[in-house]
Subunit: 296 residues, 2 copies
């Protein structure tokens, strides 16, 4: 396995992935715009770098775990970006949720520099990232997989290999976000109707989670609503962004998405009503005329 | 346990429930508008009756498993209906998916005749009905439960007791249908986008069913789409009806349901496009510009 690996973005997911790589015997070099985050990681074993460019001089594989395509652009091609500094044959692993067409274009731009690329969005949350139990939805050329496929398996329990060029990883990730976003909004709508009709919310949760109306998101997010706890594990604004990406992808081929567009409107209403940074289950707060369970 | 039990409506669910009651040692008297269905059940052990009224002279518990509130009205109060013929203290178990406000009103109307009532919508499909593994979402007075609660447990593995008067059973069932309908439409929308974007549909199914975007309905119904098999296990028009009921309930208290109303429009579009009697997963056929998997 490649011993020197770079990782950019020590957020909720990236920090866990960096730890997984270290646990698998890699020397992990990290960069984060918050220098203290990189220093803290280095203190526990690892190397803190001052820029993506510095990372590129030390490692021939770089894992990017930043928020979106714009930040990935900056990491690659901005001031002190890594792309110009990466050696030919090295690999850039792109883990953000992005427009698949942007990911396809990025593979082509890096190919011109002789850099291999893996389209590799991630899923599963911070706890699974830290334990190496997360999921990666990947697509790449055989050469890129040959150069860095072992590192994917070091970071994730489920590594889906979905195609022989960039795109399919980001497409499947976007479609997962479509369903996740619609299901959270639908769970909120269902629980809100129950409250409106005077149904006991705990009993409703019990029945639905044992019935055909269940979803992974209903079971997970409505537990937050029952506790009245909107501490953000993933915030409302994440779905304003991700359902926006879903709609961008479909608009490019003039494809109608009635439920996704409706759910997007619901998350935007929640965001601008003051719940942007609350847990995404706070989308239930857009429903009028109900009394939500309060935090004990 | 009450030995003589009447059951009205030998459809996909009712036939299985009648068998479950027989398996538990009941003498089961049946009525169906299709006389041959009742005769066939009687031939295997049981009693075929010519009308709901005749059933009422033989049994002090009647289980009604017809399609909707209108049919239940006919069973109770139509020509040869059972309500006038039922003795005081007997029990009517209402298993259809109906407007909860209608169920509440029906309890009151029967109470005036001295007839007990159990609000008891069912869920789980024909196979679980036949094996006694289905779910009942019930609400009733303690007197009604005391008189016939044992029969509920004979028909269903999961009997939720949700309140001490009619209403909560039908409300929870309606909310389950809200989620089921939205999830089927969302699954179709997600799979359609995947096909539009050139994603392999089997790979997409594999990833989603192992990810946070999964729902019970995605997993169940998209298997039909992958096989290209739209044989109706539950038809498009069932969700035209059930999401219509959901919207009726919410309209009565002026409560907005953005996703349910969107999904209802999708099922209506599918119905009038010629897919009314196909499997409800045929809602995916409303999406233009894609090629669906064909039956092998």
């Amino acid at each position: 396995m490649t011993k020197n690996v770079g990782l950019i973005g020590l957020g909720a997911m990236g920090a866990g992935m960096a730890s997984s790589l270290r646990r698998h015997g890699c020397q992990v070099h990290v960069f984060d715009v918050r220098a203290d985050a990189a220093q803290a990681f280095a203190a526990a074993g690892g190397v803190a770098c001052a820029s993506p460019a510095e990372l590129a001089t030390r490692c021939n594989v770089i894992v990017s775990v930043v928020v979106n395509a714009a930040q990935t652009e900056a990491v690659l091609f901005g001031d002190h970006g890594c792309a110009p500094a990466m050696t030919r044959g090295s690999v850039f692993i792109m883990c953000s949720t992005v427009d698949p067409n942007w990911s396809i274009a990025t593979e082509a731009r890096l190919a011109k520099l002789g850099i291999l690329y893996i389209d590799a969005p991630i899923s599963g949350g911070a706890a699974k990232a830290a334990s190496g139990q997360m999921t990666m939805m990947t697509a790449a050329t055989p050469a890129a997989y040959a150069a860095a496929g072992d590192l994917l398996d070091a970071m994730a329990a489920n590594v889906y290999r979905l195609g022989d060029k960039a795109g399919a990883g980001s497409k499947v990730k976007i479609i997962n976000q479509l369903l996740a976003g619609v299901h959270i909004a639908a769970a909120a709508e269902a629980m809100a109707l129950g409250l409106r009709e005077g149904v006991n919310p705990d009993a409703l949760y019990d029945v639905i989670t044992h019935s055909a109306g269940n979803s992974w998101m209903f079971e997970n997010r409505m537990a937050h609503v029952l506790k009245g706890d909107y501490t953000p594990l993933s915030a409302v604004d994440i779905f304003v962004k991700d359902l926006g990406l879903v709609l961008d992808v479909a608009r490019a081929s003039k494809f109608p998405l009635p439920l996704s567009s409706t759910a997007h409107q619901m998350f935007m209403q929640a965001s601008t009503s003051g719940f942007a940074r609350e847990d995404d289950s706070a989308v239930i707060k857009i429903f009028p005329g109900i009394e939500l369970p309060q935090k004990a």
